[in-house]
Amino acid sequence: MEILIQLVSDIGKLWAKYGASYLSGMRSTLILALVATAIGCVIGFVCGVLNTIPYAPGDSPVKKFFLKLIRVIVRIYVEVFRGTPMVLQAVFLYYGLPYFTNGATRFESVWAAAILVVSINTGAYMAESVRGGIISVDPGQTEGAKAIGMTHVQTMTHVILPQALRNIMPQIGNNFIINVKDTSVMFIIGFPEFFSAHKAAVGTSYLYFPSATVEMIGYLSMTLIASFLLRWLEKKMDGSSDYELVQVDPLVMTAGTYSHPDKGTPFDEQSREYKGKKHRSNRGEH
């Protein structure tokens, strides 16, 4: 019991002195995770779409060559960034840029470097998720879209991708939560995230365990709130589970009579009469 009281008082001491730095660390972590997940999703969607452009046996060899080339490039990107540790990628890029340009160019801010590294890392994972999401949509949806004359791009943007996005929402959530935690490796390039606040605090106070407790609680509350919000978002995307029957539709008059955009209504005189008015309504014309 005493030891717990001790812990609480230590945490109190830490918070009094380093509270602001913990909070600003949390803010940086959340912003980095959010921005990088969003950019990573965009990268993932672009790669996933490029990877699933279909080619028919009858297509020209040039088209086939380019499509294959794109697939190889995406494949290399995915394998390289999925297959190496993010902490190493951060060091590699952050110090690689000045090394290759003899110090002429370097990252202006650690923010740019951190966002770049986490984004392309997330993108590598998302590329595969998006590809899976696209494959998981029933091929009948593509056929339905093609049958009404949609092009490949229209089919993708209006029919397939919205459904793929819904299917991979849990994956996007996964990536976001992983990013909240894994951005902690960005301390390596001096990014001021939540975990670096811990390092700064224990450097002078030596209260290792109490500070780690603060970190644990902090990370857990961020991820719990995130997963709660993600569930809510998924439900919202599904839309309401019931629908309203439209009993009186503004466009439909009595059963069997329609207001045709060109031919007008069967009540032609009334039609003409109403043409001049601003608010043309088919209701209550009788």
Binding site: P57, G149, Q154, V159, L251, V252
Partner: protein, 246 residues
Amino acid sequence: MDQAILQVNHLSKSFGTHEVLRDIDFTVKKGDVTSVIGASGSGKSTLLRCINLLETPSSGEILYHGKNVVGRGVNQPEYRSHVGMVFQSFNLFNNMTVLENCVVGQVQVLKRDKESARKTAMEYLEKVGMAPYIHAKPRQISGGQKQRVAIARALALDPEVLLFDEPTSALDPEMVGEVLGVMQRLAQEGMTMLVVTHEMAFARDVSNHVVYMNQGVICEEGAPKDLFGAPQKQQTKDFLARFRQN
């Protein structure tokens, strides 16, 4: 009235070494209601999918108003927008409401403005009796209702000919009637239709031309009263006899 919309010449289709269609010839004229009947696996659906270019024919040509649409350099989406298709499995867009399903093609493909697209969609949804359900998602309505929406979606693009790929085969028996009723009304209004079906009563009573397919070839074709009343070929007789027993 005697104008040919679609003309299929020497059409063949193979999947690997398996020849599904062999040297098919036939014509769809304006106002025709053609039923394609035959046993499962006889190539009926493949023929329809070839006509809509969802399958690429191995050889032969499909003339749309005299212009070949098979091969490179053809604007496939443009052609498809003139040739509506209704699928066995409905294929309504699951991410859209009933109304959006019927609007999206008009706006994206025909570049109509949203308001007139909505009006046209409502007109056809009313026609198939689905106007009260415009806010429902496809997963919330029954199979028969889905198929009626699919018909409205195809009609909304004002196609010249409508292809039906076994439109009632995936439906419960009590829902078949509502879909066939809609199709019958369309036929009476002069819509050009090409229907792959197992509904013999529909083929006999509604269509004015029946094509019997057997093992990838057109075995016999003619007016329904001739084909059903006095079939010439032995295979046709056997096929129809099997159906009468059921």
